[in-house]
């Protein structure tokens, strides 16, 4: 066909251009020139590329010690009592969000007069002095790998972002923290560290991006050995890109945003975009079986990896070739994927890459109710025509998203918004308290995107869905990046909350959403929470046989003496409800220590035995002693 030949000629042009770009890229960074080919060689002691990478060794230089994300970015109520998002990093940065105050007051019964401020600075005296294994430290010194015993450094690596972890930090309460932080620069450094750790019986806890929400980074209080946090953040180079096979070989400490940015410079992407991608690392994704928002096109992490190198106490585990699929017994990658740092440190990963999409388009659909929305998503999954991302928010979350609309600049847009609302609620008869919205992201070449878009909107129309514009869609996705900042704002005003997720067969999606939300509300009431909680969900991923469901849950804890305890009880009950309704223990957050108690029921006793025996063989001394999973 004509279009075919013209397509291939334009393809050829495009490829040529990309090649040029990559070569140009290499030329611009002569100092990195050889590292792009010689993976085994380490970088110099002082990294020359620090300025382009996001994560410095001293995380405190740019990040909060007791909350989410960058120090310069946060929500606050300004002197006029209006919510404002500070900094310059996000689309929402520097904007006024007029609806947020009312929403917070209305939803939680929160009050701007009642503040619950955090401890402003970390006092080093609150941190236990380190337990030092002198012999180990001496030998590490001789290798020249940088390390630190500094209190701040250690506290930064002692927690993830579970509610109880952040809450304790805000109160200035510091529990057991690692005794030492070490920053290997390459695979070989890690090999040395693990050897020394085994020799001196030191406990190693790998640390990637620190975004865990499963208590995976919590130091086991019963651990008496010296705990060393192995921070992979300096192992952050793309070692090579193979354009013939569309793969890239990358050090596992690289964080998502750097990986995408660097690949983009060469015209490629991995397409793996978990909500935490600003801070979470490639190694962390592998260790927790992460899932990205655009998995419909690119796949989840297990679909993306071609080759993994992991350093264990028994030595290095890796495959001998890069064949795209093998029948060689159980896939050893699946011992590594989801091992949550209990077996070793992932150091290097070969991943699939794709040319950057030519065209991206956001979209959104409003449905009269959640039931219709789920039915539509199910149909989309059935026809296997899901866009790069499709998410369905329930009514509460729709209202939440609405409250985060920034102040509009012109009277005209606000007038338009009013008209739209009028159209949907009055003309189409949608009930404001029942309608829900699906956000969409299409990717690919322009023509196909438009065609695809039409197909999806046609299906949506069958379920009463109305297209609601690109803006709504885009705002929906932006929300996922700022929501973690919003939790910090809530905590300033007696509101605590968290998200958790599950995966569930299609026929149970509606039931699980209703039952878990109802359970949360009831448990809060039974435990003396004064105001009804925010209990909301969204369907974030579709699969052939089911979906991933995400719950948000937050409440105003004024009047409770032990808010975190209440919170934990409610979350526990919610998880029990999930399991009783046929949901999984986790779709992508992992088990960590938070959900360990349900592992046996989840994988059966024999399954537990299998996992245990692997652990016993690979790490008999329990060097990787974070005690996750098992």
């Amino acid at each position: 066909m004509a279009s075919n030949s013209s397509g291939s000629s334009s393809d050829r042009q495009r490829i040529a251009q990309q090649r040029l770009r990559i070569i140009a890229g290499h030329l611009q960074r002569p100092e990195d020139g050889d590292s792009a080919v010689l993976s085994a060689e380490c970088k110099g002691q002082v990294s020359k590329t620090d300025e382009e990478k996001t994560v410095p060794k001293r995380r405190q230089e740019i990040m909060k010690w007791n909350g989410w994300g960058y120090s310069d970015t946060k929500f606050l109520f300004n002197k006029k009592g209006q919510a404002e998002f500070t900094g310059k990093r996000y689309r929402l940065s520097g904007m006024i969000i007029p609806g947020l105050k009312d929403w917070m007051e209305g939803t939680f019964g929160a009050n701007l007069q009642h503040k619950s401020p955090a401890t402003p600075v970390l006092t080093s005296s609150a941190v236990q002095p380190p337990t030092i294994n002198e012999a180990f430290v001496e030998e590490v010194k001789s290798t020249g790998i940088p390390f630190s015993h500094d209190a701040e450094d250690r506290v930064f690596r002692a927690h993830g972002h579970c509610l109880h972890e952040v809450f304790a930090l805000r109160e200035g309460k510091i529990g057991r923290v690692p005794d030492m932080v070490i920053w290997p620069n390459c695979h070989n450094d890690v090999v040395k560290i693990v050897e020394l750790a085994c020799k001196h019986n030191v406990c190693l806890m790998p640390f990637g991006g620190g975004t865990s929400v499963s208590s995976a980074l919590e130091c086991p209080p019963e651990e008496t050995r010296s705990i060393v946090s192995l921070d992979t953040s300096q192992m952050n180079r793309i070692l090579w890109i193979d354009e013939k096979n569309l793969t890239a070989h990358v050090e596992a400490g690289i964080v998502g945003q750097d990986l995408e940015r660097l690949l983009n410079e060469s015209g490629y992407c991995t397409g793996h975009e978990p909500d935490s991608m600003e801070f979470s690392s490639l190694g962390g994704w592998v260790a927790t079986r992460a899932s990205g928002m655009k998995k419909n096109i690119y796949g989840n992490i297990e679909d993306l990896v071609i080759h993994i190198k992991m350093v264990t106490p028994q030595g290095v585990i890796e495959k001998s070739c890069q064949g795209p699929r093998m029948s060689t017994g159980p896939d050893i990658h699946h011992f590594i994927l989801g091992s949550e740092g209990t077996l070793g440190v992932v150091t290097e990963v070969t991943m699939k890459i794709r040319p950057m999409p030519e065209y991206q388009k956001y979209g959104s659909v409003v449905f009269p109710n959640f039931e219709q929305g789920v039915a539509c998503l199910r149909e989309v999954a059935k026809q296997r025509c899901a866009p790069a991302s499709i998410r369905l928010m329930d009514n509460e979350q729709f209202k939440f998203g609405h409250a985060l609309k920034p102040q509009v600049s012109s009277i005209f847009t606000s007038f338009l918004d009013g008209l739209k609302k009028l159209y949907i609620t009055k003309f189409k008869g949608f009930d404001q308290d029942r309608l829900c919205v699906a956000t969409l992201l299409f990717e690919g070449n322009r023509e196909k995107v438009l065609q695809h878009e039409k197909q999806v909107y046609d299906i949506a129309a069958k379920f009463g869905g109305l297209a609601a514009g690109e803006d709504n869609g885009q705002r929906g996705y932006m929300l996922t990046f700022v929501i973690a900042y919003l939790r910090d704002l809530g905590m300033d005003y007696y509101v605590i909350g968290e998200s958790f997720e599950t995966s569930v067969p299609w026929d149970r999606v509606l039931d699980i959403c209703r039952n878990v939300k109802a359970r949360i509300t009831r448990e809060c009431k039974d435990r003396g929470v004064q105001f009804p909680p925010l209990s909301t969900c969204r369907v974030t991923q579709t699969y052939d046989a089911g979906a991933c469901v995400y719950f948000y849950f937050a409440f105003n804890y004024r009047g409770l003496s032990e808010p975190v305890h209440v919170y934990e009880q409610v979350e526990h009950a919610a998880r029990e409800e999930i399991l009783a309704n046929g949901g999984s223990l986790s779709h992508h957050h992992g088990v960590g220590k938070l959900r360990k108690e349900w592992m046996r029921d989840t994988v059966s006793s024999v399954g537990m035995g299998m996992l245990k025996s692997v652990k016993d063989y690979v790490d008999p001394q329990n060097i990787f002693g974070n005690r996750n999973l098992l």
Binding site: R508, D511, R514, G582, D601
Partner: protein
């Protein structure tokens, strides 16, 4: 599902679909509000005529109204009379609560007009004895579950399965119960609310009909003409009717820790599955609990207390000499105090002098008793038209009919006394004060009589403690860690309680005796009942047996069910007429335990676990 059955029966899927549609048509309700309005009018007219009042607990209704807004509600009334059927719908309609969809036996559907009337007032019909009809079962359970899931109307059904002929609660049936609970087990609804409803009648419309049925006179087929004939019933006074809406029960709350809902994760939820042992035990426990709550919620009438005492006098006294009115009234007042001690809900008007209350009770029940010259007599049915002298058997039969009618009214309050009565019996037969010897006997009695009275499975020790507590409260016994001693004042209470249980024990012994007779090897239910009746009649006439209640086919059937549950009687041939084989040694052993000749041993299986 349709496909599966089709392959099993070797017919096409379409045929099965058609059949399923047929079943649905036969079954489904057709609730029409207009119709209900009309019915409302009729019912109110009729009930005004029949009953002097219908009493409803308003706080119960308010709670129900609240519950209906939250989760699917299942109304679970006890079943004592056909009148139950309409009265709840009528009450709900009057108080502006959604009218329920009611599960009814399919014979009712066969009645001309009436079937349609009931259908339009929200009844759906189920066949009795569904047995192994897979398709019917599947269609029915899907129908019920859909109603529960969508929650557009409360579902009402009788957990006892049928009308109690004896006014005693029946062992709950679990099929329907399972169907309404399954949507919760499978996560299709957040919760299901059960509302036990206790309906108590001062006088039951069908009293004499029921007594005759118990004596083996076949139940007239439900027909419209039959109903019209029954209108003569309308001319009589039936006192008051009491409807008590119990506290709504959250199934979610009750089932906590009793059922692991994950068991439904691995098989499609719409595929009919045999319930697991865990689910069955949970359903059975809940069903028993509901029946107990129905019992506790029912109102006990003065007449029921009087009936207890009346029946403890020898039958000849009742028919010939008459019972001294004064003696009866004094004893009734004594029993009233005991009942209150045991926590009874009594319907004893406070503003009226006690004597008048009792007198009017007797007057209301003039079909059974008659007060003449300071004495009270049992009224037997009038002589049949023929002049020929009646035989002894016929005489016994007539006496029995009256006794059984009386017994039904006694049964209305039996649930109150049965646990302490079992303790009293245990103390008496075990002839010991040692607590750890009395309890096994109590346990044995509960196990043996689990088909006769409602005991919540697995609650025996609690029941025992509670019974001891009540007996201690009325100063009948003294309880220590090891000992249970009878006080002097307690003799009166204990002997009354023992006498309450005696007719049942005697009847069981009669049936045991029949089963151990030489001629009996295997038998069918149809043969055995008349044979037992003959034996009992003979024993009564010879003066060996005192209680006419042994003639009640209900108790006889219960004995057989109990023995089947204990696997002493086993099914030997499955056909239209089930045949049974009996293990005589085991029967003899139980008989000996019951009479105290040998100490009680654990019977096979705990009570209530078998369905």
């Amino acid at each position: 599902m349709a496909k599966e059955i089709a392959t099993e029966m070797g017919s096409s899927v379409e045929e099965v679909r058609e059949e399923a549609t047929g079943i649905l048509e036969e079954m489904s309700q057709n609730l029409q509000l207009g119709f209900i309005r009309l019915m409302g009018y009729t019912v109110s007219k009729m009930s005004k005529r029949l009953f002097s009042s219908i009493n409803v607990n308003m706080e119960g209704l308010n709670r129900l109204q609240q519950a209906i807004q939250e989760h699917p509600v299942i109304l679970m009334p006890n079943h004592r009379s056909y009148a139950d059927f309409l009265v709840i719908s009528y009450i709900l309609f009057t108080y502006d609560i959604p009218v329920p969809v009611i599960a009814a036996g399919s014979p009712l559907a066969g009645m001309k007009m009436v079937g349609e009337i009931l259908r339009r007032s929200g009844a759906f019909f189920i066949r009795r004895a569904i047995g192994s009809d897979k398709l019917y079962w599947a269609v029915l359970s899907e129908y019920v579950k859909t109603i529960v899931r969508t929650g557009f109307a409360p579902v009402e059904f009788y957990v006892e399965g049928l009308r109690s002929r004896t006014l005693k609660s029946l062992t709950p049936k679990l099929g329907m119960m399972h169907m309404v609970l399954e949507p919760y087990f499978k996560g299709e609804v957040f919760d299901v609310t059960l509302v036990p409803i206790s309906i108590s009648y001062d006088r039951v419309l069908e009293e004499s009909l029921l007594a005759h049925e118990l004596l083996g006179v076949p139940k007239p087929k439900e027909s419209t003409t039959g109903l019209l004939k029954a209108t003569k019933v309308l001319q009589e006074d039936y006192g008051s009717m009491h409807v008590n809406f119990g506290r709504p029960l959250s199934v979610r709350h009750l089932c906590q820790g009793k059922i692991n809902r994950c068991q439904y994760n691995l098989i499609p939820r719409d595929l009919p599955q045999k319930p697991t042992a865990e689910a069955q035990a949970c359903v059975s426990w809940l069903a028993h609990l509901v029946v107990r709550i129905q019992e506790e919620g029912s109102l006990i009438s003065p007449w029921s207390l009087m009936a207890c005492l009346f029946l403890q006098a020898p039958t000849t006294v009742l028919t010939e000499e008459g019972l001294l009115w004064q003696q009866l009234t004094e004893k009734t007042l004594w029993l009233r105090k005991l009942a209150l001690d045991f926590g009874a809900r009594l319907n004893w008007p406070e503003k009226i002098p006690d004597l008048d209350v009792m007198a009017s009770s007797v007057a209301l029940h003039r079909s059974i008793v008659q007060r003449k010259a300071g004495r009270v007599y049992l009224v037997r049915e009038e002589e049949p038209a023929g002049k020929r002298p009646i035989s002894a058997e016929e005489g016994a039969f007539r006496t029995a009919a009256a006794v059984l009618m009386m017994a039904s009214y006694r049964n209305q309050c039996l649930h109150l006394f049965v646990r302490p009565a079992m303790v009293a019996t245990a103390i008496h037969i075990a002839k010991t004060t040692q607590r750890d010897k009395i309890f096994p006997f109590f346990f044995f009695l509960q196990d043996l009589f689990a088909n006769e009275f409602i005991f919540i499975p697995g609650k025996s020790s609690q029941d025992f403690e509670e019974a001891c507590f009540f007996l201690k409260k009325c100063a009948a016994i003294d309880v220590s860690q090891q000992e249970v001693t009878v006080s002097d004042a307690g003799q009166e209470v204990l002997s009354f309680l023992r006498a309450l249980l005696k007719p049942f024990i005697d009847t069981y012994q009669v049936v045991f005796r029949y089963l151990c007779e030489d001629g009996v090897h295997s038998f069918s239910e149809k043969q055995s009942l008349p044979a037992v009746r003959n034996l009992a009649t003979k024993l009564i006439l010879s003066g060996e047996l005192y209680t006419y209640e042994a003639l009640s086919s209900d108790t006889q059937k219960n004995v057989l069910s109990a023995l089947r549950r204990l696997e002493i009687v086993t099914k030997s041939r499955v056909s239209e007429q089930n045949e049974f084989r009996v293990n005589k040694d085991a029967v003899r052993r139980i008989g000996d335990m019951l009479s105290g000749k040998i100490p009680p041993q654990p019977l096979h299986g705990p009570p209530g676990t078998r369905l």
